[in-house]
Symmetry: C2
Subunit: 388 residues, 2 copies
């Protein structure tokens, strides 16, 4: 056994860098993007404006917003070589796995370190086109070309369905995109930074971020919330169903988050958005499940303050705007590409290889290989060690 330190498991509470992008204050329920409280961003700005804020560092002026909107629009269509790559994938590949592979395809040797704003906007603009194309293939439908006259979120819904989406749905999903756009040093953003720290390229780093976001401990579980709603079916059935699940020691999805000791501010907003856009009976069921879950958890873990997390009402919102369950996690990823682009630019400004240590707890050095060559006393080569 070597190394004096006790491992910092999960690197919890280890501060790995300074960052000016977002502040997560779990004790107070704050989420702040470059000084703007998330609530401040729920009314005025478009997703594109928040992209400007995160990636370029400031709220846009009208000219710089027009430039950014036009750059996103220009980057939406896929070059033919990329379409061929997408269309060669088996249509049965789940959308999140497909998105990881397709963003990797964006890294075709033309994207060099260090990351640029233009590369970041390409990632943000092109990911929805890739995803929508694959999802429509999976459904046996032909692709819908992007429209540059629609906003980012409206165009995403358009490419999925081929129908111009209603304003209320667009606005609900746009606020979801803003709420999910960044969140401090989460696991996918961290994976992105680890990759960039080797001076690898932005698309490689975003691929790694997607690989991490897929996991149910990060972004891969919101569909399970809707599955729970369906299994419960009726508000009155919620308490018994929850108690029975807890008795069977099943995990309740949509409750609890490592960073928040008070209610996640995103949950507060998503609940409000859900109330506006979800079918009333669905919203009532969600509320009943929330209440039953919190009651049961406070009984089983007295003293703990537990809340629904971002996944809970996010699932209600995403369902209400018409997204199928398998699109929940990839849609989260589309929102988060904004934060990834911002973190990539920040990481590359003051780059240092990210490489923690481990404490070796394996067999002691000096074991002899039991194979025939050693046993036969075959001539061994000894290295000419130069070190002390």
């Amino acid at each position: 056994m070597t190394g004096p330190s006790t491992p910092a498991r999960g690197l919890e509470d280890v501060v790995m860098a300074d960052s000016a992008i977002s502040l997560v204050e779990g004790e107070r329920g704050w989420l702040v993007y470059r000084g703007f409280d998330i609530g401040e961003l729920m009314e005025g700005p478009s997703f594109e404006s928040v992209v400007h804020l995160l990636v370029l560092g400031t709220p846009p002026g009208s000219e710089s917003l027009a430039d950014l909107v036009s750059s996103l629009g220009r980057n939406r269509p896929l070059p033919r070589s990329l379409e061929l790559g997408v269309d060669a994938m088996a249509p049965t590949v789940p959308p999140m796995d497909a998105l990881r592979t397709m963003v990797s395809l964006l890294g075709d040797g033309t994207v060099a370190f260090p990351p640029t704003v233009e590369q970041g906007l390409r990632l943000i603009a092109r990911s929805p086109t890739l995803l929508a194309r694959h999802v429509r293939r999976g459904a046996g439908e032909s692709p819908v070309a992007p429209r540059s006259d629609l906003g980012h979120v409206a165009n995403y819904l358009w490419m999925l369905s081929g129908e111009t989406p209603e304003a209320a749905r667009v606005r609900a999903l746009e606020r979801y995109f803003i709420l999910l756009a960044d969140h401090g040093m989460n696991a996918s953003t961290f994976a992105l930074r680890v990759v960039l720290s080797t001076q690898s390229d932005l698309m490689s780093a975003a691929t790694a971020a997607l690989a991490a976001l897929k996991g149910p401990a990060h972004g891969g579980a919101p569909a399970k919330v809707v599955e729970m709603f369906d299994a419960i079916g009726d508000p009155a059935a919620a308490p018994a169903w929850i108690d029975s699940a807890l008795t069977r020691r099943e995990r309740l999805y949509g409750f609890g988050h490592r960073a928040y000791k008070v209610e996640d501010p995103r949950s507060v907003w998503l609940k409000r958005i859900a109330r506006e856009v979800a079918r009333p009976e669905r919203y009532r069921l969600a509320e009943a499940v929330e209440r039953a879950g919190l009651d049961a958890l406070s009984r089983s873990k007295p003293g703990h303050r537990l809340f629904t997390n971002v996944e809970f009402y996010a699932a209600v919102v995403l369902e209400a705007v018409g997204l199928s369950r398998e699109l929940f996690t990839p849609t989260f990823a589309l929102a988060r590409t904004a934060g990834w682009a911002a973190h990539a630019l920040e990481q590359s400004k003051d780059n240092r290889l990210i490489r923690p240590d481990v404490r070796y707890t394996g067999a002691d050095r000096g074991r002899r290989w039991p194979g025939p060559a050693a046993a036969a006393g075959a001539m061994r080569m000894e290295p000419e060690t130069k070190g002390p």
Copy 2:
């Protein structure tokens, strides 16, 4: 500004976990796989035996080695759906980018968390087939089907060239594979663990590892060593060339490693292997460049003990066994898949989300959005915050 701690930049010296796989003792020049010094593994065991050691935890018995060899052989051929995916990529995509995309294609929804030995062996077995197929497409050549009668490394060379490789070349490359198979908590292995910590799947995690390995600060620079040799051309020209490069403040590739204060034991062995397989004039040039580089660096950084790192003689070995430069980093990756499989299994045994913190240094909370909606005094929604 929030958070009391000073950031641990690059997480240097932060111990993030216990690991029984490999010991890197930079002060003493040790590299140990599960108790076996790397020198002990240079004579007896095959790469397959070292895979057994790393992934399954013990040196193989003859029966368990036969099982592992047969599993690797069975996994070499690609299913047709995967061949279609590979062949749809532009042949101009650099091999390292292509390998990242192709390993991502292995994660097609059928590979679930937690990782298994069988999944690890599939990753190890299939990666060379994917890489060789793409490289031959890039050269306008038809693919060469894998052979199950050849060892792992011999089969890789076979699939690249379609010719049965000489035993000396195979053995040199096999020792390279063993030397590069694992190395503690390097950046790619760390990226793999970050991804797995979200309970994402092994192929997603290996994709992230490939994304990290690509960077020149990790595995992406060995080809630059050969470029340097070509630029120097003649042993006698080495000192002047090196001095001039240092005067221009250019980075010398192949010198120095964060972890080693003495000579990297892998370099010692790779130099010996290089002497055996490289053309004598190439080896003499490499030696002259090494000497000139170390002389110049010790003059410019007196008191520092500097050595060539693993990339320096690795480049000589890889060139000598007939690999083109663009294959250097992907070949490193193929060797490292063994370590990645081992670390994936270890990580998933005691899994906890890997998620460090950042210290927020951005604008203070409370900024007001300057857009028209706010300016017009549009009705704002306030969240019903439930926390204290």
